[in-house]
């Protein structure tokens, strides 16, 4: 009989009950309010039979639009509360103004603990965002645990922002729990219920809108760098005369002008200004927008022109706006001077001339101007009075006018930091319709770049950039690295692709570098190390603790001249001196 029971027990499937993680979620993802209102956002908790005693939150919101009034726990024992009767609570609240969460694949998961482990932030002095860390601890009565329901309430005041303020959501970047008996737990963030962000619809305080419109901004835009502003000049005798109004445009790209800002039934000429009041950030805009693949695309198109007619074949540049962006010297032609200036800009030996009045076009013109007519000024003037650098606009008497605008940066031929090109082309599975197109770009093609952390044992530090392209032949690469100049000094760069032309642009704490196969005869594929950056330590190398950060200003080009993507294993290189690993004590 015993053998029978043993046999039965072996044959019966063993049921292993995996512990379901606790879950944190926002109660709502849509909040409608009026300026001056107080709004509440609940972070709720599902205990899932754990002994959770602490929940650690990371929230992000626009501090220029919302002021956190207070944070409180749900009433212990209330029906909707996750907190049982008799529980005592405590809260630690830290504010980090100017910080913003940098989203990566690793830190946007539904596991709050994983997001925390892979956190990345960008800091902007005086920046509009803030990070709020909340560390909420509970002490329930003996043999009692948290339940399911409301846990913590954040109360905000909606600040009195400008009528055209562009609101961003509140984000719960991570939340994870600490258990009495198991330490910090993998914690679901809005997996089975609730949300990880809350979108605001804010009304009130909005005057009548006379002109409403959009400036098409790239998804990667750094609004603090681009600083787009529309300038409305009153016209006198058909000549722009007096600056009547300047409209700043936020991340969303929408704008609205009220009757108090411009007059009704009046002629204006509108200009787009980039780079701040004095155009201070124009050099940074150019460095971000113009990278190696812009040059390879332009040079490829130029080199393929017909030897007999001089006509271009429109292989890389399929739309007129590509040529307009390539016409850097504004000669209304695409000539060797343009490609030469483009290379000089990338190499850092010269800067493209760009005033703070930028190349703005009506959306309808931007998307449709053809490769045949782009240089014929009149063809543009037919639809956009006053040419590509400004446009004439007559305000209506009462009704709202709509103005949809696009822009490009001279030299940004693949439009990576300009408005996206929308064109009527064949879409997926042969369907037709309007799709975003950026012609000199190979989509779904990328190379891998591997960066390794280092234990520092001497004052000379070498950082290899290991590239793996598979079968893809590449002809240009560039990167930008930020470092702490109080700890490191940049020395030089060893080039592992000797037949390519290298460039280095080193500023204090920032080095931009790359190389181009100008002859397109030495394109490389497979695994190789094109660059080794060399630094020396400022102080004792054995004690150093620092990090190098790769910016998003990186680029790669295929042998054909098209831009291709780069996949990094990490955008941070950690350098830690040997003494930090030795038995040094705290």
């Amino acid at each position: 009989m015993k053998k029978l029971f043993l046999l039965l027990s072996l044959l019966l499937p063993t049921q292993v009950s995996a512990q379901t993680p606790p879950e944190v979620y926002l109660e709502t993802n849509a909040i409608t309010a009026t300026r001056g209102d107080t709004i509440e956002i609940w972070a709720n908790f599902n205990n899932n039979s754990t002994q959770t005693r602490t929940i650690y939150f990371d929230f992000q919101y626009q501090r220029t639009a919302f002021s956190l009034i207070d944070v409180s726990f749900a009433t212990a024992g209330a029906d909707s509360s996750a907190i049982p009767t008799g529980t005592t609570t405590s809260l630690t609240n830290f504010n980090f103004p100017g910080y913003k969460w940098v989203q990566t694949t690793a830190n946007t998961t539904t596991n709050g603990l994983a997001n925390y482990q892979n956190m990345q932030y960008a800091y902007t002095s005086g920046g509009p965002y803030t990070i709020r860390r909340l560390y909420g601890t509970v002490a329930p009565p003996t043999n009692t645990n948290l339940g399911t329901g409301r846990f913590m309430k954040l109360r905000f005041e909606v600040l009195n922002t400008a009528h055209d303020f562009v609101y961003d959501s509140l984000y719960m970047n991570f939340a994870f729990a600490n258990s009495n008996n198991a330490g910090w737990l993998a914690t679901n963030n809005a997996v089975s219920t609730g949300y990880r962000s809350a979108f605001f619809t804010i009304g009130g305080g909005t005057a009548d809108v006379l002109v409403y419109g959009t400036l098409d901004l790239p998804t990667s835009v750094n609004i603090n760098l681009l600083q787009p502003r529309l300038k409305f000049f009153e016209k006198y005798n058909n000549v722009p005369d007096t600056l009547r109004h300047t409209e700043s445009i936020g991340t969303g790209g929408t704008f609205s002008i009220t009757p108090s800002e411009v007059d009704t039934d009046t002629d204006y000429r509108i200009y787009l200004s980039l780079g701040g009041a004095g155009g201070d950030s124009i050099p940074s805009i150019l460095n971000t927008a113009i990278t190696v693949s812009d040059f390879t695309a332009a040079e490829t198109e130029f080199s393929w022109q017909s030897l007999t007619t001089g006509n271009f074949v429109d292989t890389m540049f399929t739309k007129g706006v590509h040529y307009m962006a390539a016409d850097i010297n504004d000669s209304r032609g695409f000539d060797p001077g343009d490609t030469g200036t483009l290379f000089a800009q990338i190499a850092g030996v010269a800067t493209i001339e760009m005033t703070d009045t930028s190349q703005m076009l009506l959306k309808s013109v931007f998307d449709t101007v053809s490769t045949a007519y782009w240089r014929v000024t009149d063809s543009i003037l037919d639809t956009q009075t006053a040419g590509p650098y400004g446009m004439d606009f007559h305000t209506d008497t009462t009704a709202t006018d709509t103005l949809n605008l696009k822009y490009f940066i001279p030299g940004d031929v693949n439009l990576s930091y300009s408005s996206a090109l929308t064109t009527n082309i064949s879409g997926p599975q042969g369907s037709s319709g309007y799709y975003y197109q950026s012609s000199p770009v190979l989509t779904n093609t990328s190379i891998d770049v591997n960066l390794n952390n280092l234990v520092v044992t001497s004052n000379s530090i070498e950082i290899p950039f290991e590239v793996s392209t598979g079968d893809q032949e590449i002809s240009a690469l560039q990167f930008e690295v930020l470092y702490d100049p109080s700890k490191l000094q940049f020395e030089t760069m060893d080039l592992g692709v000797s037949s390519w032309i290298a460039f280095i642009d080193n500023k204090l704490g920032q080095v931009r570098f790359g190389a181009i196969d100008r002859s397109r005869e030495f394109a490389l594929s497979g695994d190789f190390t094109p660059f080794i950056l060399k630094f020396v330590t400022v102080n004792n190398p054995l004690d150093i603790v620092t990090q190098l950060h790769l910016t998003t200003n990186m680029d790669a080009s295929s042998k054909s001249g098209h831009q291709i993507g780069i996949t990094l294993n990490s955008n941070t290189i950690r350098l830690i001196g040997y003494n930090n690993y030795a038995n040094s004590g705290s």
Partner: protein, 133 residues
Amino acid sequence: MQIPVHKIKLLASLVLILGCTLDPTDPFDIDDIITPTFDLGEVPQSTKIVNVEIDALTKTTITLHMAVTVGAMYTIHLIHPLGEDPLAVTGFTATTQLVTVELDYSTISTGLYDIVLIDTQGNSTRIPILLER
């Protein structure tokens, strides 16, 4: 001009002394300067914080339990939540798979911090810690 005899003797003595003391092939003992070597230990296979305990009495002594690789080297950093530069650093070489390290943070002010365990490959794991007095 004639050089006095005593000066000639002095110069000759100096030449003799230098000739006897300096090795003409390595006059400044360059070969004797040894480039230090640094043993980075075993390649880490595990870099985990298992548990942390805060001394209930002092609230400044932290006991950290870690699952690590025997023979591998590690460093423990105490940093501000969004910071990079450590406020305190403790290094160790693991002698067992489960290592316990006692950290004295009595000089660290009250606040919320991260404890980060980093191995020689640059892999890291972190936990938040609230230091109260």
